[in-house]
Assembly symmetry: C2
Homo-oligomer: 907 residues x 2
């Protein structure tokens, strides 16, 4: 069974890739328009390739260096006598992951730069055809990413099983195979980070620069051919929104599946797949997700010009999700065994696993809907920004920031509920599989997502080629829908990243040999703080890079307008390549520091402070990263659509405002601020948190603690804190009221000159306690009797009625003040409690003469005094109980002398 199923996974990936190839060929076959359009499209394609080449050059150095490091780490087979199940093969897996990730981006960009101009051309005919071309372009990208991921991961897994000769699921060989597989994910996610950050900086530097001079200063429309930065802007759409996003989602997809596999490897089940079903399940579900995504694309079609494009996309999206969820049910029932499944002491059933998938899908859906609400035109959040644009730039910014911050509430509550829900249903495996379920239809998600920038580009080409207005209208229609899908896609991506990070986090904990991440410990809390700070500095670096590069762009565009005469009159061609070069250079340069922070911080923290502090760091990064991601993406999306709303005119306080009005100018400011938020720093948060988790997972074996040793220390500490549950004593000068009657359980004695009853406790001998302390006790004393019972481990000690008299403990008459000489008895008691780790209960008593309530109070005070004295000797107060009984418990042998007694008690 296993043999067959394991081959199904890469096969599903190949199916995806074949369909991709067919669709890609179809796109290529479409009419690419006239010579002018093709020339412009050529500039864009060339610029995009130039960027990719420049990026790859830098990244290849990084990949070689990192691979060498990983290969070296794979040769370490033990640390401090602890075996490490690594292999140098991880370097190969890393390189494959990196190459696949880059390829995913490349495929997307290649098809996007073909589909853009063909969409423009199609838009000359009909909206229906334009949608078909642009969406097919997106589909190529989606299937490319998902197909490569499933094929790569599934295929590599099979190869690794062979290479390491894996026989059983919990063998060391399997550990090595999975460890090597994390290298694949690390490679994918590293490239994704650079692609997303680099691409994000590129696209927004160009966009902001083009807008600031073109739209705001020169007053020419967006995408005007006269704007020197317009080609760079359109290239940006491809390298950032397409190639960057492709690499990003490729990384997410792989990381999600991998995290589930790592946790699945820890689960012991007897199934028809050699115990491998929990490992294979996420791959199979995601593989099927490709098939259902293909089915979903069939629904994305419209009838005529008036059809609602958004509805068509939604239909396709929901169809593929619903089909995948239904299929998951059967797959889960088929693959997983009946009965209990256990992971890290949490037990669940296969139905729990299915419910977790449902929870994951639900979380994803809610995140998308909420994101749409906060960023869509016509809804309250965007309307509030529009309203506040009427009082200027500043209030527009304030409104947008506040919308972004507020938009974190429901997603975070949803996420929190999702974590608790999926954990409830299937433990940590549930959290991971929820993410995998959510990501299963990545091919479809990405198709919808990538269609946006293609339509955007198509509109740009239409504008630059000065095509008739109905063409631009059609592409604008598509572009507007694309903006919404881009926003919901981001909501989906951040939710899956959060769940994936948690799954990776759980996997990390398992491998790092820790049972807990206790933020009550000072260093772990410090780690949490530092982790929380990283998304802030990362975001700052991203948006600062955009700001700086945009400024350079602005100056270049201003220079060209100034120095090249005739641009404005279409007589001279702007130097597009200069602007492309600025964006390329800036993005490559500026992506390095944020990338280095993400990669190096966990390594440094892990090796210097150990896994628990690193766990705190990861938690901080995840929480803060998710918040900053949602905040920035949604603020940016809302600003964007607030600005767009002016195109059709908006009503503010009874007055209509259109483009070029003062409120519109304010909204352009918001949109420009939002650009790096929503396309550079915001979406980078996903990758940041995942990448740091994966890096931690990869280094986990090398920084792992000996979990048995940790637990042993913990056990000892707990035993020490808890002590054994025991004992009691108290105040006794009441005995001076006694007549010296001897009782059967205590030593005889007589009343001395001071009126105190002095016990005759027999021959005093020195007793050695186990901790080498020494005490002197009379042979007939009750303390000695107590000591004998402790030594004999006498169960009678646990009897609540068994009390021991504290001999020779005297208080001043009618007072709670201890008489001198009483300290010896207390000291002996303290030493015994200390040596045998006992808890003590002190009972205070009085005789039954006089005011009863006063007697109770006095006895309580005396017990408290004795307690304080013991505490002063060093017995922590949680180990001492004190109670005043007054004359209430005449438990002793004679009712004439209520005696101060010891009691051994069980708590």
């Amino acid at each position: 069974m296993m043999e067959n199923l394991i081959y199904v996974v890469p096969a599903l990936g190949i199916v995806g890739l074949i369909v991709m190839a067919i669709k890609s060929a179809w796109v290529t076959k479409q009419d690419a328009g006239d010579k002018n359009m093709q020339e412009l499209a050529g500039y864009i394609a060339d610029g995009a390739m130039a960027f990719l080449k420049a990026e790859w050059k830098v990244l290849s150095i990084f990949v070689v260096f990192a691979a060498a490091l990983l290969a070296y780490s794979g040769t370490i087979h033990e640390i401090n006598g602890k075996p490490i199940h690594g292999s140098w093969v991880i370097a190969i897996a890393f390189i494959i992951g990196a190459v696949f990730s880059a390829t995913a981006g490349y495929i997307g960009m290649k098809v996007a730069t073909k589909a853009n101009v063909r969409t423009t051309q199609a838009a000359r005919t009909s909206l229906k055809l334009a949608l078909k071309v642009s969406f097919t372009g997106g589909t190529v990208m989606g299937l490319g990413v998902a197909g490569l991921a499933v094929f790569g991961l599934g295929g590599l897994f099979i190869v690794l099983l062979k290479i390491f000769n894996v026989v059983t699921v919990d063998s060391d060989q399997m550990k090595t195979a999975i460890e090597v597989l994390t290298g694949f994910s690390l490679g994918a996610e590293s490239i994704a980070l650079f692609a997303r950050v680099g691409g994000g900086i590129y696209t927004k530097a160009a966009d902001v620069g083009a807008d600031l001079v073109g739209k705001v200063e020169a007053g020419i429309p967006e995408d005007d051919v006269r704007n020197p930065a317009t080609i760079a802007d359109n290239v940006g759409d491809n390298v950032g929104d397409v190639a960057g996003m492709g690499a990003d989602l490729f990384g997410s997809y792989v990381a999600t599946i991998l995290a589930t596999m790592v946790l699945g490897q820890e689960i012991k089940v007897t199934d028809d797949f050699g115990g491998m079903s929990p490992i294979l399940l996420p791959m199979v579900i995601c593989g099927l997700g490709i098939l259902f995504s293909i089915v979903g694309t069939w629904f994305v079609t419209i009838k005529d010009e008036k059809s609602n494009v958004q509805n068509a996309l939604n239909l396709g999206n929901w169809a593929s999700m619903a089909l995948t969820v239904i299929a998951s049910y059967f797959i889960v029932v088929y693959m997983l065994p009946d009965g209990d499944i256990t992971l890290r002491s949490v037990t669940f059933t296969k139905m729990g696993v299915f419910y977790a998938i449902l929870v994951g899908t639900g979380v994803g859906a809610i995140m998308s809907i909420v994101t749409e609400y906060y960023t869509a035109m016509g809804k309250q959040p965007v309307m509030s920004i529009i309203q506040q644009s009427s009082t200027g730039h500043a209030t527009n910014i304030i409104a947008g920031l506040s919308v972004g911050m507020k938009s974190t509430v429901i997603p975070i509550l949803t996420l929190a509920a999702g974590i608790m829900g999926s954990y409830h249903f299937a433990g940590l495996y549930g959290v991971a599989i929820a993410a995998a379920g959510m990501m299963a239809t990545t091919a479809m998600q990405l198709a919808i997502d990538a269609f946006g920038p293609i339509a955007d580009n198509a509109g740009g080409i239409a504008e630059m080629s000065q095509l008739p207005p109905e063409v631009r209208e059609r592409t604008d229609n598509l572009d507007a829908v694309g903006n919404t899908t881009a926003a919901t896609g981001k909501g989906f991506a951040i939710a899956s990243a959060a769940l994936t990070s948690l799954a990776l986090f759980a996997a990390f904990v398992g491998i790092a040999g820790i049972d807990a991440i206790d933020i009550y410990k000072a260093p772990v809390l410090a780690g949490l703080f530092v982790g929380g700070m990283i998304p802030f500095v990362f975001s700052a670096l991203c948006i600062q890079a955009v700001g700086k590069a945009a400024m350079e762009m602005v100056q270049e565009v201003r220079r060209q307008f100034r120095e090249i005469p005739g641009i404005m009159e279409y007589k001279a061609k702007p130097e597009y390549d200069k602007c492309v070069a600025i964006s390329t250079k800036a993005s490559i340069k500026e992506m390095l520091l944020p990338g280095a922070i993400a990669l190096i911080t966990p390594v440094v923290v892990g090796f210097v402070f150990g896994p628990e502090v690193l766990g705190g760091l990861l938690a901080g990064v995840t929480v803060s990263g998710v918040l900053m991601g949602i905040f920035q993406s949604n603020a940016g999306g809302a600003w964007d659509n607030a600005k767009k709303s002016f195109e059709k005119g908006v009503l503010i306080n009874g007055e209509m405002f259109y483009k070029k009005s003062e409120p519109h100018k304010a909204s352009v400011t918001g949109d420009t601020v939002g650009d790096p938020f929503k396309d550079t720093s915001g979406p980078s948060m996903n990758i940041l948190i995942k990448l740091m988790s994966i890096v931690s997972l990869v280094i986990a074996p090398y920084i792992a603690l000996d979990i048995q040793a940790t637990r042993k220390i913990q056990l000892e500490n707990l035993n020490k804190i808890m002590g054994k549950s025991v004992v009691v004593a108290d105040t006794s000068n009441l005995l001076k009221d006694a007549q010296g009657t001897e009782t059967s359980t205590t030593a005889a004695g007589n009343v001395n000159a001071a009126g105190d009853y002095v016990y005759n406790t027999g021959t005093v001998s020195v007793i050695d306690l186990p901790n080498d302390a020494k005490i002197s006790l009379g042979a007939a004393s009750d303390l000695n009797r107590l000591h004998e019972k402790i030594k004999a481990n006498d169960a009678a000690l646990l009897d609540k009625n068994n009390w021991f008299v504290l001999e020779d403990l005297y208080f001043e008459s009618g007072s709670n003040k201890l008489k001198a000489g009483s300290e010896n008895t207390l000291k002996s008691l303290y030493e015994m409690a200390n040596a045998y780790n006992l808890n003590v209960k002190l009972g205070g008593y009085t005789d039954n003469t006089g005011d009863s309530s006063k007697n109770v109070a006095l006895s309580q005070q005396r017990a408290e005094t004795a307690k304080a004295a013991l505490a002063n000797l060093g017995l922590t107060s949680d180990r001492i109980e004190a109670e005043g009984y007054g004359p209430m418990h005449p438990i002793c042998t004679t009712d004439i002398i209520p005696q101060p007694v010891w009691r051994k008690t069980e708590e």
Copy 2:
């Protein structure tokens, strides 16, 4: 000793209050200027009082309601049989705290509204006198806050000790007293939150509204008497920056001292103060801090017009800090006992406590310096904002946001180091006392802080009264310095809030009966997420409130300009009161929701999800709150000073720009966005995190878990996970190669038809295992021998050389495939391991014929196969070890038959 020292604390508070009264009288005595000035000042004072009254009216309802709830809670004396050491007196303490906090704000506002106009008048004479008046006004505020806090806390503590008849430090009575004292802090901090948020909304709504119409639209200067919002703006300085800040720092100061007291109460020491030294220490240090703050004010004076005001303030500040640190050394040495001090298993010395105070002061100083760097004119961060103002509003905003985010790095690293450092020196008490040490000179900090808005107001009055330019120049000089001190004050405040929250957090953990806050648990992590989100939504509500109120203000101002003819020509008076009313109403209304979130969230989470999840929530709030606080305060400060830089002109790309230039307009946008950041939401973060911690601390006894029960469960789980360390076995069909020779330790037998050696294991009997499982073992079998040894707890089991043969376990020849029939043996082994919680080590062996390396591989595979079979039966793989020895260990009695054996081994 204790009796005396405890009275010293409130006495020091009274000293502070007396000096305050003297200084206040001096301010009142100063010349209040001409009639026009007095009229304007009268408007401001009236507006401020109107706001305070409106605020108090709303708050008194809240206070009564909350007090009733607290009084009720104080009547609950046990929950589920667990005693609660509360008292209804907490309601009184709460009310006193609230009244004191309101009084602190009132004193500050009262003196500020007197000092402002007197500063203006003084500025007609000299800078020296103007500084003296404004700084004395600030001093009154500082001494008022610190004096009231120390007097209130110290006095109330004495009263509570009497009321509850406290005898010993660790008595239940002391617990009650401290619990009641948290009510005081809760009252103070609740009022602080509303005052800060309400005041912050007030001041910024007025400020933003006044600027947007006045400066930007009408082109009249700031504080112009023609602007209808100008009075509201100046009132705002007093209610927000003075009264709000006073209440805020009063709350911080009290919370810091209280947190240290709560932790101090847990420490058992023998000292000269009845064991109370750790409780009294923070109060004494803060009391002395008042004295040294008074001394520090003597240094704040300048010689002439050209003297540097900033240096004078710095001198006073550093002097009071240095003196307090030096005094702390002697106080610590005097009060704390020699030898080890222990808090929650962490042991430290009194010198450790002093070092922790040093760490705290150091953290505060670094935070101030870093804040100044990020917000001061002429430094790189502000310069970068100025640069990016040249390309428009949007790039100015991007630059400011990025500066704010980046400015979190060093403060967070400092804070993390401070947490680790102070914890290292004196455990959790160290963290708390570090905060207390940092806060000790609050009187001085606040004097410097409050001086700013007084100078700002003075400038406003000068402008409105159209006094000669040299007056405005002098007040501007003071105002500029005030901006810097305001920024550094915020850095200080956020650092102390963070440390205080951690101390409160630690106190909470102790009272809530938990030992850890493990974010690896799903619900705790969910709590962390939700907690992290709260500062975002809180900030959003604050800045949104400012945005909305500012819009109303803008419309009102526009209306007045439109409808009241002659304002611009100074012929008609604007309706100042309308603007005051807008700010008042908006701030009161809008402060309620954020306040409710802060107060109610911890209660709901605590009661529904328990203390550990609440702990996660608090950690999330603290980390995210500190980050958002630093980010917003610094971004706002930097934007403000970027704008101010244009007054003297700035050089951008070789060109000079001044006020009214395009870049200046962009910088005004940034400043306006920064206003709510730096004066509303940013500084509210301090209070938010402290208030939520205090609320949690107050409810902690009611949601507390039984810590002993928790530990017991933990202990059982640990024991279960760890198992006993044991055992081993393995593969045996090698015996078919054997000649059937009998060994002394194992059963005899003979080779059967299949070539397998069949043991004669004697009479088979059924054995009942402790977990009611049953196994059948032959009397002579080695498994039976193992069982006997386990039952007898035989130490020989721990000997690594003690192996046990797994009889009747057969593999196919030359293969690792188990023969049918082998499962019985494995099943018996599994059952024993399961019943006695044993770990197993399986050793695989071969004979020494054939290729040695092949033999080793084969033996390893066989051991792995047996392991997999055990795992399939349900024994988790971390309890099974498998090793192939090949022919290497001929440890059995005959070297002809290397036998498969059991070994009991200690890990």
